[in-house]
């Protein structure tokens, strides 16, 4: 068991880049890029196992040690506040957490003027922390998707969401009035695995870090 390294990869947007980063670091990623519905890939010869799961489940897999390493967005990490080791900023999957309002209400106003409002979000912890730190009281409404719908139908006055290009906001006549923070993909490790499998994990981490830096210099 100590010879097998298990890595959790996020389905969806980050998947392609995540596989690339592992391949560049010299790991065997055979079969990972093929269109398949398999959720577990085991390569015994290389001592590797990949778990492919929902991005929001990655911190859980890693925290319990079901996966030794994981690749996941900082947005997910912050929202869940799990006990993980955050090791490398992979610099892809860039997005921003913003507070956004309908254009008509936002016009020329500061966020502090919107006290006791309803806020729709997929990230209730991020939203609550943000408003608490500003001494604002709001009612946070947890939704599971299409947050931009909430202000349009009168469910909420504003939203806290992640945006990458801002297109969705514009299409729904919303405007970002505050940046909360920006996020990128991270490589995370289980704290026990990091120590028990240190001789495998540490060189991998260093290789990944070097590659990320090289790319930054080149671009």
């Amino acid at each position: 068991m100590r010879n097998l390294l298990t890595i959790a990869l996020p389905k969806g947007k980050l998947y392609g880049d995540a596989v690339d980063i592992l391949a560049e670091a010299g790991l065997c990623v055979d079969g990972l890029k093929e269109d398949s519905r398999k959720m577990v890939f085991t390569n015994e010869k290389a001592g590797l196992k990949y778990i492919i799961c929902r991005p929001t489940d990655i911190p859980t897999f890693v925290e319990y040690g079901a996966a030794d390493l994981g690749i996941v967005g900082k947005d997910t990490i912050v929202e869940q506040d799990k006990d993980l080791m955050e090791l490398v900023d992979l610099r892809f999957g860039y997005c921003r957490f913003v507070v956004a309002l309908p254009e008509v209400t936002a016009h020329g106003r500061d966020i502090s003027q919107f006290n006791h409002r309803r806020v729709a979000t997929k990230f209730p912890n991020v939203a609550e922390n943000y408003f608490r730190q500003r001494g604002m009281q709001v009612e946070v409404i947890k939704l599971h998707g299409n947050i931009e719908l909430a202000p349009a139908v009168g469910l909420a006055d504003m939203i806290v969401d992640i945006v990458s290009t801002g297109r969705t906001l514009r299409e729904n006549q919303l405007v970002a009035i505050e940046d909360i923070f920006s996020a990128t993909a991270r490589m995370v490790a289980n704290r026990v695995s990091y120590r028990l499998k240190h001789s495998r994990i540490q060189p991998l981490i260093e290789e990944v870090r070097r590659n990320v830096k090289d790319k930054e210099v080149r671009s």
Binding site: R2, E86, S193
Partner: protein
């Protein structure tokens, strides 16, 4: 009528131990108690409930918001103990302060933390541990680490490792950084959260491209056996860090003499409880469990905070976590069968027989339902009891073959 079972819940994060499970726990507790005793540690017990202001003298922020607390009828704030080291420090300072040092004490106790019950965190936790009070020598640290190794070994765990760090190496490097106390506390938070990405950003944003800042980031990479400790000599940026490393060397030499080096590794990234620990810190891990099974270290300040200035070191093992790790390789235990079932109407004979068999170490069940012979045998067979003996008041002639000696 049977009650709806959903109406009989227990609080989140608490658990029952069923027959078999409780037995496994008892066996482990006894084994450890015997082991600690053979190393000359004495058992102590303290109350489950104590005053908030006494128990939180030292724990600082780590326990804030994680305590079970309530008022007594006079309005005092009470807590369920969240760990055992502070109660034992209180005991030392208030009851055992006249005793000759060093004192070696051990405990097996339940402690309570209001954590979200997941990933190995429960709200009622069973801890087994020792405190060695009144000795600051590396030999004292080596003794408790060697004892922790022995306890884990005797538990039946096959693959485990104790990672040893030294908080003074970290503190020494921190002393060299030209930062405000607030910034340093921010760094400690990030290290405690193991968020090395934010730590790197923070150091860069404060223009700390210094060698020392780099060392801070590289701390967790100093990992392994003796050779890792040699490499770590570059961390000796000042006297504090140098002494920390020297102390690690000494503890390691002693651990080699104990013959436990195969179970220990250095890891300068093991940094726990900054408010609490003052030297060696360590954690135990086992394969297949994503969270530590034990932890400990040196806490030379705590006792002075309760008015009894004296160095100390110790550890606590999470009994539930060890049981969890063991359960991965073991069949779940269920009820234990009695060896012998006795029944009948000759109570004088039954009780005398039961007493004789019990004295010889057999597990004996005596029927209390007044079963007739056939019913007794049927019941015994159903439970899988090998020996069933029926005592009739006036034995029938053919009854001898039923009486089988156990």
């Amino acid at each position: 009528m049977a009650k709806d079972r959903s109406l009989l819940p227990i609080p989140a994060g608490m658990r029952d131990f069923l027959p078999g499970e409780a037995q496994l726990r008892r066996v482990l507790e006894n084994k450890w108690a015997q082991l600690y005793t053979s190393w000359s540690y004495e058992e102590v017990m303290t109350p489950t409930v104590e005053y908030l202001d006494v128990l939180t003298i030292d724990t600082g922020e780590e326990m804030a918001g994680r305590l079970f607390q309530f008022f007594d009828r006079k309005g005092h704030i009470m807590v369920l103990r969240p760990e055992m080291t502070t109660p034992i420090a209180r005991l030392m300072a208030s009851r055992l302060y006249k005793d000759t040092l060093p004192q070696r004490l051990f405990y097996g106790a339940n402690v309570f933390r209001y954590d979200e019950p997941q990933a190995g965190r429960q709200r009622e936790i069973f801890q087994s541990g020792v405190e060695l009070i009144g000795a600051s020598s590396p030999l004292a640290d080596a003794e408790v680490i060697a004892l922790a190794v022995e306890a884990l070994r005797q538990s039946g765990l096959e693959e485990f490792q104790i990672s040893i760090g030294q908080i003074e190496v970290f503190n020494g490097i921190m002393d060299e950084l030209p930062l405000s106390p607030e910034d340093k506390s921010k760094i400690r938070d990030l290290v405690a959260k193991k968020d090395f990405v934010s730590l790197e950003e923070f150091l860069q944003n404060h223009h700390l491209n210094l060698e020392q800042a780099e060392l801070l980031l590289r701390l967790p990479t100093f990992h392994g056996g003796k050779e890792a400790l040699e490499e770590a000599s570059i961390l000796a940026v000042n006297e504090k860090a140098r002494q920390g490393l020297e102390n690690l060397h000494q503890v390691y030499s002693a651990l080699c003499l104990y013959g436990v080096e195969e179970y220990v590794a250095f890891d300068l990234g093991v940094l726990r409880g900054f408010d609490y620990y003052t030297g060696i810190v360590f954690e135990g891990y086992t394969v297949g469990l994503g969270f530590p099974i034990c932890g400990g270290g040196r806490y030379d300040r705590l006792l002075s905070q309760v008015g009894y200035d004296c160095p100390a070191t110790g550890f606590a093992i999470g009994l539930d976590r060890v049981l969890l790790a063991l359960s991965r390789n073991q069949q779940p235990k269920t009820h234990t069968k009695p060896d012998v079932l006795l029944g009948g109407d000759d109570l004088v004979e039954i009780f005398a027989k039961a007493a004789r068999l019990r004295a010889r170490g057999f597990r004996v069940e005596v029927d209390v339902l007044g079963r007739q012979e056939e019913a007794l045998k049927a019941y015994g067979r159903e439970r899988g009891i090998a020996d069933i003996i029926y005592f009739a008041l006036s034995p029938r002639e053919d009854a001898d073959d039923v009486k089988k000696e156990a």
